[in-house]
Subunit: 262 residues, 2 copies
């Protein structure tokens, strides 16, 4: 088994490993969230070689998201929508803002705590959440391109070196403070929500009531809801911390055990 | 495989089936929720014969409760507490009361909809919820007797024939209405909560804020939270409809597939 815990596009390496008879376990989202053609090639190479590709840790870390999806489908259910908050970093930052903290401070703490991807713009750009949305949408039958996630990094800061980006963070504090105050005045909070369906994927900021299940999330907590033929009026919901080294490692370990058991 | 979808104590039959080389899949809680000795005998008979006993559908119907517990443990986590609302019937009845419906009417509808056990007193007595608590506690290492669940059926109605019990239901309406109104005046609602730990099991009515995750439940919706070494500050939570023929059948089917895959 090749376990990929990088944050790079390792598609070529993974294709080579499949060719040499490796099964794959991924915490790395990038090879699963490239173009539809690249994704199809990876899965087709695995299928032809009789190899398996598991990636529970890519969404919700150790939470049983993809495993639950698999169980629903195996029992003959049809999932029409998977939606929720899948970014521990964006959840952490948005709920810190809600508590009156500065945006810059919240982002720095997310990096220091290891919640954020190596470059926090992977999270703030919505790219990381968008990749998770794509990873959830593809099993549903979505064949389109990666989604245009809403980017929380202003255009001038998107391509500067990371150190410069981190120094520029305080310049964003005032706008976030105002935006959060406007939402709070209406009893609402801001959440970064991903929605995956067979036909489309969306990722962006949504204003929700503070008392709603998603509005009540705090910290890095993820919440993922499955709407299906059997869970149609009332979704099946899984929530819990969705980031951190230990729970991510647990997700990887569960995949390894699933491979070794079958 | 012997699939037990009865609501009887089938322990002797199950022991015989194990002796004949059957694996077991249970939606029936009773054989798993008897005395500690009876439970130990069932599991020991299975172990010695190399047979497996799966029972996902006993708690939360099709929700991945026991599967999630197994995954946590397999990845080296230690679960210290499983708690929540596991009775679709009691959830349905208590949230109907909250909406101003009469207790008698709510119980009748739970029976008519097939949410309740064949005799609704199995649910109202807390026995059914207590069994689920016991089923969740035993894997944690709980070795004690079945819990004394809080019984919502007044003593004089506990042993009368079921038809007479159903006719007597309206006599309970006023007391429930008053109890619910007292809770509502404090911004609270009533929920029947089960808590399982390695040392004890409890099942009874708890008054919780209407805005809490458990207070926000409605209808037959279940909510089960896992507290563990890794999910300590923030539990892993699964919620969704936890009763009904179709989702229960899905839980059974998942167990059958797990047996056939390994």
């Amino acid at each position: 088994v090749l376990v990929d815990v990088t944050a790079e596009d390792t598609t070529d390496l993974l294709l080579a490993a499949l060719g040499h008879g490796f099964d794959l376990v991924l915490a790395n989202k990038k090879p699963l969230a490239g173009s539809a053609a690249s994704h199809a090639r990876l899965l087709e190479t695995a299928r032809v070689g009789g190899r398996r590709v598991l990636y529970e840790a890519t969404v919700g870390a150790g939470l049983p998201i993809l495993d639950t999806y698999r169980k629903l489908v195996e029992a003959g259910d049809r999932v029409s929508r998977i939606a929720g908050c899948v970014s521990g970093t964006l959840g952490f930052v948005l709920s810190a803002l809600q508590q009156g903290r500065a945006f810059s401070e919240a982002v720095r703490e997310a990096v220091a705590s290891g919640y954020a991807e190596p470059d926090p713009r992977e999270d703030l750009s919505g790219r990381d959440a968008g990749r998770k949305g794509l990873i959830l949408a593809r099993p549903l039958g979505y064949l389109g391109p990666p989604p245009q996630a809403q980017d929380l990094v202003p255009r001038p800061l998107r391509r500067v070196p990371m150190a410069r980006f981190m120094r520029a963070l305080p310049s964003l504090d005032a706008a976030w403070k105002e935006r959060m105050a406007r939402a709070a005045a209406a009893g609402n909070v801001l959440r970064y929500v991903v929605t995956a369906t067979p036909a489309w994927v969306r990722a962006g900021i949504v204003e929700v009531p503070a008392s709603s299940p998603i509005g009540a999330l705090s910290g890095t907590r993820n919440l993922i809801s499955f709407t299906s033929r059997r869970y149609r009026d009332e979704p099946l919901v899984i929530s819990g911390p969705g980031a951190g080294a230990e729970v991510t490692a647990a997700g990887i370990l569960n995949d390894l055990q699933q491979l070794s058991a079958s």
